[in-house]
Symmetry: C2
């Protein structure tokens, strides 16, 4: 059979977060494969209460492990590398990165006790990595973390450019600038570019993106204008922003103090890997607490309202000896990711109660996005002149809008979401298979499937409460007269003015007294009857049908 | 003792939603009281899973019921009238409204089986309602629902203007325009205005608000430009918007179909109360389904992503015989309220998967806010020239910003949040008491306190899962060797590769076998020991400590 080139997103296509993409080349069903990125996304109470991390279900990769040539990581954001340590055991192939990303990838592997010798650190283009039928180059591109890379993936069927996350920034403060001339060369080599798999997250932003360097003056003006303590929060991995903030602080005569483990780690990794050649000296929280309030700039984690990050800690009172006060200033040098509003607003109100003045980045003066906006995406289409555009990384609406844009420009385009296997060999993309995919959840120390029912049961208990009933059947298959009922997450007293549990126990005692032997001897029947009575009495008493767990204990004849 | 004028917010001050304010006049501790608004807010999975409605805890009003003269409702939004039926039994005093608001208030009372003869319908100013020492007038003001009213509350200590929710709209499409001349008169009467209690929700919006009437042309252009079915969603109570949308549809040659019970009810109430003098004829969903796709405009509920509203139903497939298709258009003529993003995005993606084109109001072309922005609030300060400004209805940060604005203009201002009793008698406001306040939750058919622990337990079960253990102690105070364990919302298999429940049962059996009599005879001690073992084994097996419920059944000697 003729060989073919395939694209298979397992995560990130139809959602923002948990990126995981597969490319393959070879005979159908026997393609050699490479994996691009293994990221996570974060759960929330609405859909995944108690879940620590969410990632793509890589069952298909596990089943086809012998066909995989390697894993390539484009950059060090959690939604691109966060699942590496957790999923590596299912794949067990070499991991390719550049130096800074590699340092973060190493931490992910170490955390999960996976072998770090699988990590291979590469220089950017012109270095070429051969992985089966693929020739891969890391190409510097700008983003909100240093050393973000697009991939050139050369295959016998043509050249793919996989952008990873990117923006067009000629002055990114830290890391490599977007280099249109190099990209022009890349587009001109050989047969040109067959496929552009391209970041779609900001397709609905109509203005051209703005450079990181534009923030230096506004941030300096901002810090200069404040009279007491200044706190600024942003993503820890946005090292350029940390540097701009810190330099603004120093220029305004303040000492810099970093709060939050992730932030200190990023600076360390940045310096160790040579990405960050200069960063102002920092003081410890203890030193900062001793300084006059107008001589300190705190740069802290928790811009998305995370409950355990430094921002939230400061909003709740004294943290590491530092306490915010009336007249202090708190800057969100960040954008609130949709879905995180409640957490951010909670912190903002707590700060307001302390008398802290809030400065919000949602107006864009103190923040720029790390992603290409619609005109930037269009510019990349024009620059690279691909035959096919595959919109990547975005909710369905982003992918669809991106595909419409490409189609309007006369390019072949297709919306492919997680699990769609696309044949890219011909002039237009074609769906050739649908792979069972889904999400894995890290719950405590265990990986579970999103559809295992664990989370469904948690959500049900949270919405409906939980009633537990214990009944005992004696040696002669007669129920003991008392049933014990315990309620959790339910009002104690109902319409009858007595404890709801007591009302249920009363009804159950009556039922058990007259239950026939056939029902009593059958666990399923007995349980079903008890559940029904419990829900019925609850409904009458409190207008709610709880989840019910029944434990039937059968006493054995001694 | 000298008489005094007090203000006491019980809800809405330090949050957006569940408005409930109290004014009092008289000797300290014996003031006669009026209540302004009794609204609800809505729970979410993060803070109140399974809770149907949230409202102010009016325990203080209940305890001082004999001092209350009446309840005044400013307008018909849920966050101002939604708790009336639920809380009326605790207050049991006459309810004063204008006609349209009264029709909605009547529905609230009827739903909860409360007497509707307590409802008194009033004409706007110049009608004066006497309630103890208070002389109250309803004054028309514009908002996103018809007949919104500010209150003039004349007291022996001076005149209060309580704005309710408002905007400055000279052309509100439906209902009364903002009338600056009347407000100028109001400010000029007698001693002028002592206190302005003023809506703060939009204090951070720097541009002057825009009129509802500005939407007619953009909405008509929008509908004219669409080629297939058009769906528009907005708040059901925004009758002006419904009318503008419907008229745009008719002008574009389409039939109008309203989907969602709340929407049809609002139109009915609007027509019955004379608020709405004309509305285009509507067709039923069955008729709409039969019409050519380019001849229909659906106006539907669910702009905030509510799971059971018409928008969500349509996003999931066929609804009342109507199914959206590739090329249809869906307009959000609304703003997403912070915290509702996840639900809205879910619907938008599902629509995108159907091929429906999305038009989003967050850019403001197809939506205007119902609240006064910062310059509008400032204009009201200037127009009314109050002695004291009390920022009302807003998160803490809104109230604080509003107070700063007033102070800068030389007005006395104070941030008062729920439970702060403020003395307004003198030239500057003064905190004189702190009332125990909080939130009540409607859970099924029961009102519970937010701090009762019910919701706390639900959140814990959702985050940690729930383990139930049943042990039986026989007639001789000896535990039976087997403990039964059931897990809910927890992974089935742990590190040991066997069911987690089985691992726990094993450890518990060992413990019960060697437990001393003192522990076994004491329920608390036994329960504590069992809980500890259960959590320990879970932690080892799955890295998580679940909530644990223990049921100890003691067999009685027969």
């Amino acid at each position: 059979m003729a060989e073919r080139l395939i694209y298979l997103p397992l995560g990130g296509a139809g959602e923002i977060g948990m990126n995981a993409y597969v490319y393959g080349y070879g005979e159908p069903g026997r393609e050699r494969l490479i994996v691009v990125d293994l990221g996570v996304t974060f759960g929330d109470m609405d859909s995944a209460p108690g879940i620590d991390l969410i990632m793509a279900d890589v069952g298909w990769l596990e089943a086809n492990r012998d066909r995989i040539e390697g894993i390539f990581i484009t950059h060090g954001h959690e939604d691109h590398v966060g699942a590496l340590g957790l999923l590596w055991p299912k794949i067990q192939k070499p991991v390719h990165c550049r130096r800074f990303t590699g340092a973060l990838a190493r931490l992910k592997l170490e955390e999960m006790g996976q072998p770090v010798d699988q990590l291979q650190i590469h220089a950017p283009r012109p270095e070429v990595i051969t992985a089966g039928p693929f020739q891969v180059q890391f190409v510097p591109i700008s983003h909100s973390i240093p050393e973000s890379s697009a991939l050139i993936i050369d295959t016998p069927a043509g050249r793919i450019v996989h952008t990873g996350d990117f923006k067009l920034d000629g002055t990114p403060v830290v890391g490599e600038a977007f280099d249109p001339i190099m990209w022009h060369e890349i587009a001109g080599e050989g047969q040109g570019i067959k496929v552009l798999a391209c970041d779609s997250t900001n397709i609905f932003s109509p203005q051209p993106g703005r450079s990181e360097a534009l923030l230096a003056n506004p941030l300096l003006d901002f810090v200069m204008a404040q009279r007491q303590m200044v706190v600024a929060t942003t993503f820890a991995s946005n090292i350029a922003r940390l540097k701009t903030l810190a330099e603004a602080g120093v220029a305004a005569g303040r000492k810099i103090c970093l709060l939050g483990r992730a932030m200190r780690r990023m600076i360390t990794v940045g310096i160790e890997t040579g990405i960050l050649t200069s960063f102002p000296p920092v003081v410890s929280p203890e030193e900062a607490a001793e300084l006059p309030r107008d001589k300190v700039l705190l740069i802290v984690t928790g811009s998305q309202g995370e409950r355990r990050a430094a921002s939230a800690q400061l909003s709740r009172g004294r943290y590491l000896g530092i306490e915010l006060k009336e007249g202090d200033s708190f800057l969100f040098s960040s954008r609130t990711i949709p879905g995180n509003e409640r957490g951010v607003i909670r912190i903002q109100n707590q700060l307001s109660e302390m008398g802290v003045d809030l400065f919000d980045a949602d107006d864009g003066v103190y923040h720029v996005s790390g992603h290409a906006n619609r005109p930037d995406i269009e510019a990349v289409h024009d620059l690279l002149k691909p035959q096919i555009v595959i919109p990547m990384h975005g909710e369905h609406m982003h992918l669809r809008e991106h595909a419409k844009l490409a189609t309007k420009k006369g390019l072949a385009a297709m919306v492919a979401t997680n699990g769609d296997m696309i044949d890219l060999t011909g002039p237009v993309p074609r769906v050739v298979d649908q792979i069972d995919t889904g999400r894995l959840y890290l719950d405590g120390s265990v990986l579970i499937g999103a559809m295992d029912g664990v989370v469904r049961d948690r959500i049900r208990m949270a919405l409906n409460g939980h009633a537990m009933v214990s009944v005992i059947i004696d040696e002669d298959d007669s129920p003991l007269p008392d049933a014990w009922v315990e309620l959790s997450g339910l009002p104690e007293t109902g319409r009858a003015g007595v404890p709801v549990a007591q009302s249920i126990e009363g009804e159950l005692a009556e039922f058990l007294d007259r239950a026939d032997g056939k029902t009593v001897r059958n666990d399923d029947k007995l349980e079903e009857a008890i559940r029904k009575i419990t829900r019925q009495v609850s409904m009458e008493e409190i207008g709610k049908k709880p989840e019910v767990t029944v434990i039937i204990s059968r006493l054995a004849a001694e």
